[in-house]
Symmetry: D3
Amino acid sequence: MRLHLSTWPEVETYLADRQSIILPIGSTEQHSPCGLIGTDAITAETIAGEVGTRTGTLVGPTIPVGMAHHHMAFPGSMTLRPSTLIALIRDYVVSLSSHGFRSVLFINGHGGNIPSVQSAFYEVYETLRVQQGDAAPALRLALCNWFTLPSVGALAKELYGDHEGWHATPSEVAVTWAAYPDHIKTAPLEPLDPVDPRFYDSRDFRARFPDGRMGSDPSLAKPEHGHRFIDAVSTEIVARHGAFLDGA
Amino acid sequence: MRLHLSTWPEVETYLADRQSIILPIGSTEQHSPCGLIGTDAITAETIAGEVGTRTGTLVGPTIPVGMAHHHMAFPGSMTLRPSTLIALIRDYVVSLSSHGFRSVLFINGHGGNIPSVQSAFYEVYETLRVQQGDAAPALRLALCNWFTLPSVGALAKELYGDHEGWHATPSEVAVTWAAYPDHIKTAPLEPLDPVDPRFYDSRDFRARFPDGRMGSDPSLAKPEHGHRFIDAVSTEIVARHGAFLDGA
Amino acid sequence: MRLHLSTWPEVETYLADRQSIILPIGSTEQHSPCGLIGTDAITAETIAGEVGTRTGTLVGPTIPVGMAHHHMAFPGSMTLRPSTLIALIRDYVVSLSSHGFRSVLFINGHGGNIPSVQSAFYEVYETLRVQQGDAAPALRLALCNWFTLPSVGALAKELYGDHEGWHATPSEVAVTWAAYPDHIKTAPLEPLDPVDPRFYDSRDFRARFPDGRMGSDPSLAKPEHGHRFIDAVSTEIVARHGAFLDGA
Amino acid sequence: MRLHLSTWPEVETYLADRQSIILPIGSTEQHSPCGLIGTDAITAETIAGEVGTRTGTLVGPTIPVGMAHHHMAFPGSMTLRPSTLIALIRDYVVSLSSHGFRSVLFINGHGGNIPSVQSAFYEVYETLRVQQGDAAPALRLALCNWFTLPSVGALAKELYGDHEGWHATPSEVAVTWAAYPDHIKTAPLEPLDPVDPRFYDSRDFRARFPDGRMGSDPSLAKPEHGHRFIDAVSTEIVARHGAFLDGA
Amino acid sequence: MRLHLSTWPEVETYLADRQSIILPIGSTEQHSPCGLIGTDAITAETIAGEVGTRTGTLVGPTIPVGMAHHHMAFPGSMTLRPSTLIALIRDYVVSLSSHGFRSVLFINGHGGNIPSVQSAFYEVYETLRVQQGDAAPALRLALCNWFTLPSVGALAKELYGDHEGWHATPSEVAVTWAAYPDHIKTAPLEPLDPVDPRFYDSRDFRARFPDGRMGSDPSLAKPEHGHRFIDAVSTEIVARHGAFLDGA
Amino acid sequence: MRLHLSTWPEVETYLADRQSIILPIGSTEQHSPCGLIGTDAITAETIAGEVGTRTGTLVGPTIPVGMAHHHMAFPGSMTLRPSTLIALIRDYVVSLSSHGFRSVLFINGHGGNIPSVQSAFYEVYETLRVQQGDAAPALRLALCNWFTLPSVGALAKELYGDHEGWHATPSEVAVTWAAYPDHIKTAPLEPLDPVDPRFYDSRDFRARFPDGRMGSDPSLAKPEHGHRFIDAVSTEIVARHGAFLDGA
Ligand code: NI
Ligand code: NI
Ligand code: NI
Ligand code: NI
Ligand code: NI
Ligand code: NI
């Protein structure tokens, strides 16, 4: 069930029974010469949709632009400042809380979002504590970074060996190609060198990773891999967060 | 051309020739018992996509949640505070400006967004002026509210007479049904009474408009109307903003 | 009754009977070589005073500096960022609400303020909703842009034909000369060319409108016109907003 | 010379010669049962006007509402949060700096504004330092609290002995009655008890000072005293800040 | 009793009896070639500790970095913007208020902090008033600037005559040397010239006070002086604020 | 070398050679009935001091209060909102950058700070990018959470087996007792049960962890363990970050 494709009486009916919701969060940033700029939003939305379907949980709107400062030296990348992303998440959560939602699971497709999302959780909790004290709603906010789950690592290892890397990975690219098979891109890529995945600001990032990849070979991705990743990771997320989504 | 379905080298190529981009902005809010909660985002994204195709302009990510305080008494509605929406738009525009985009057209599906978008434009202009003086980029920011264009009013008059109303209108609902023909909803609606479209806060809104409609009969919407609206309004937007999108 | 010329017991007495207040809002910005920089504040204050007198409504302090980024390329113009103006209006309204004021009518003299004022209304409503829920005061916030009212347009047409224009108009200048007959200015003006009233940032504004006028001929203004505008527009505002000011 | 009664070419001419400006700042707050709510703004504006006239300095718009939290338990008082007042002053100063103003003297009528004004000065200096480094304009920001000047204390002692007090003082009330002789108010006042002028929040203030006076007897004020205060304090301000206003 | 050296049950026990706390606030800024950069934090912490011991009051964590824009032209100086310092103090006070603390005394070692601390007090009071109305806790926030107390002035006069000055004073340096006798520094100093202690921004400060002193001779400081200052000022603070710390 | 115990000429000399600095960051929060409220600040400061000594790196002021919302149900805990902590870190880094510092290593003692510190790094990078473009300083910001390093885990395993836990761990307590041997606390503790270290807001935290421990037995800590932890972790930090601190 997708929030944007529902009516308010349908949501009212849903809330009589369940108080959980999934929010996909992605990014709009370079993913190497052959990965889509929307990769992280597409993967988060796709996986969130699958988890929503399997668990009967409402899925809210995808946050399409996240914290991607480090990719700003590549054309087309967009970023929110962390402070803006925190404000946005706060408003989302507070809006949902008004209607009685109590458990919010963010399914995240982008590592750069993690600190802002976690900061936002505490910004919400502390703001509500100060404003409402014991009357504050008992919110439960959780973050699931799909790309770090063991099932993803295992399948990536099986399919790509050491060529998974840290950004513009074949696993995430495969998910996007499963979702958008008409938008498979190819581009000549330099041979893979071993990389140190640390970096500082956006200029430093581009100096270290000139085409945007971080030790990955996205050309290994295939749409059929994407379906396997979606299935495997959804299974794992349901196992990990199913009780949370049931309000338990 | 959609930003999220492009690669960074494709954007680099685009920018060598064009410096304009379209950003759809919608809302996540009740649209009566038979309109979708995502109506305003769906319509903005659909129309922006059509305008992008006709003019060869890049279309960026849709802002799915806008300023919808007044709908918050209906389950499922979400809102940003105006200050958050202003910060978000500022970050979007500043990100795009970094890459050389100079003309940004927001295609908007929701009246409640208008003050925040316009405020954001001046927040950007003034911030850049103070920070950079004469070195500030010569940005051109424009807002197009598709639902207020004459072509929409004329077609709505033809199709719905006085039953267009001000919110959850058959015209916007028709566009969503053209976009999502599998999600057509029906619900019993009270007879239409004449309404005064003014209101104050969200409680006042619900007291005046108990099912969320403002003098509209969304049950008149048909998917084929939606296609006619998309065509008519895209034609008008191209006529009005085509030169802007060409950088002229 | 003017707030600044009242004592607190007088306000207490007023509040026992009425809970409405008028707040004039203007701008400090160039108004062509012969219009006063304080034009928009002077007109708003003058008209608000007249409406207050006719309706027995308290008139609060005039906001003298508004959102005037686009005039910043002319010496003497001042601007608030939209975010600052929103914060200011929020504090004004929240202060007044503490004492029991429930209906606040902003009488506005400057188009550039409109988005910020409207954004501020929703910032207030949403903040109070989140903080206080159903206990939030039932505020009614309204905006009246005097210069857009039909009575003004009709009289301007009668007096100035096509020479009213969009900024530094003879109508607003006439009101200031009625208010400050000792500060009538004259300056040689270039002949009027037809103008397109759209613009982007402050540099763009000055490039399009080199002396600050937007298709207007302020030299047509006369103090006696000003008195006619004040009378006409006050009559219209009382007709439109009188019930609001009575708390109905 | 008043900014709001000037045109932009007049300001341009002024700036060719002088880069200083005076900004009056007041408050909108109770001043006992017989002092005007606008007292602090009226006194600041009146004295600033006189200093402007004597020194040939431009006088900008009066800030009518300041930081008056402690008076909020009395009807009609308004306050900005300190953070809002800081943002406002920052925008004022940055606007003026754009045109070449370099020396800004705030003439202040309200003790509660002092910390916010001083904080704002450093907010401006530090923001400009971080943004522009050595290219930042060499701004000189100064604050003059007229009511603390020795000439005021001496004259108050002469006229009122120990009945000057700390708030709603006869000296400030006298200045308002000189400025607005048609708005002299009278009210029965309790006998004066010695007071300790310290307080915490607005509830504490009202508990300590039930009618709003802090050890003062405003009924001693006379309009002719007001003229003497205006003359004495203007003389002292010119002596203290004349060189600053001359840009020396 | 120091908060950082206590356990939560010890604080719980303390709160059953007392609801006051002392917070030292300093700065990290140049103090001439022979004063320590941490001078203001060291003095505040030392004196607060002594006052805490004498009165049995809990002493919280020292704020080590304050508002020191004007010292930023000297290496090693750090500053918070006033707006950041206000936010920090607000969070400190609100945190403490949650546990039942009602009286908070800031013992301050740096003049540059005064406006921000005072602004923060009103930011807290006003925020709580708006959010909680009459349910807001009855907080009592007080500021004690140790270096301005008469006992300090008297002892400095006795020990240093006219060489106390306004910054990097021998009195504050003496306190640091009493606290850190292993970190006494010496440096050749230019002869003392009479100074005007006014300044504008950080560039202006350095131009006026090239080695960082403001009319002071810190080389006169001796550790044994420091002990005398600590004793004298603690005695005076207990006399002035003892009842406050007792909750009276 | 400690910044607070240095003079500005000493820092100037240091900067001629090195551009790195270490900033300790802790928290003020409950650490069970026998751990100190200042534990996280004490450990960070102690370890940072040791690393500074071994590498000849300047150590700046300790941030004593961090993001500890989840501990707020225990008396004496203090917290900054994430947004405040981000602002604070931004001001620290920007201040240091002004003097030429380019590499800043935060040595952190508290898990709750991680998202805010990481968010702050990107807030700084993005703000500088937008304001200064290519002229922005090439800052390198790094975070080291000492308690997560392998050497700590190994030694804790050796000394405490499964009784290390996640909060108020014997390892961190041991470090504080090495630093403050006169402040060793004892308290009767309930037997250790296995815990799930996840939690939501501060009420939820206290409900799950009634005395503040998360599966730890802090009574196992001994001061001599603390010295071993300090040595082991400092060795590891030098190995990991030594080149960074050397500017390599
Ligand atoms: Ni990705
Ligand atoms: Ni709509
Ligand atoms: Ni105007
Ligand atoms: Ni006053
Ligand atoms: Ni000092
Ligand atoms: Ni800890």
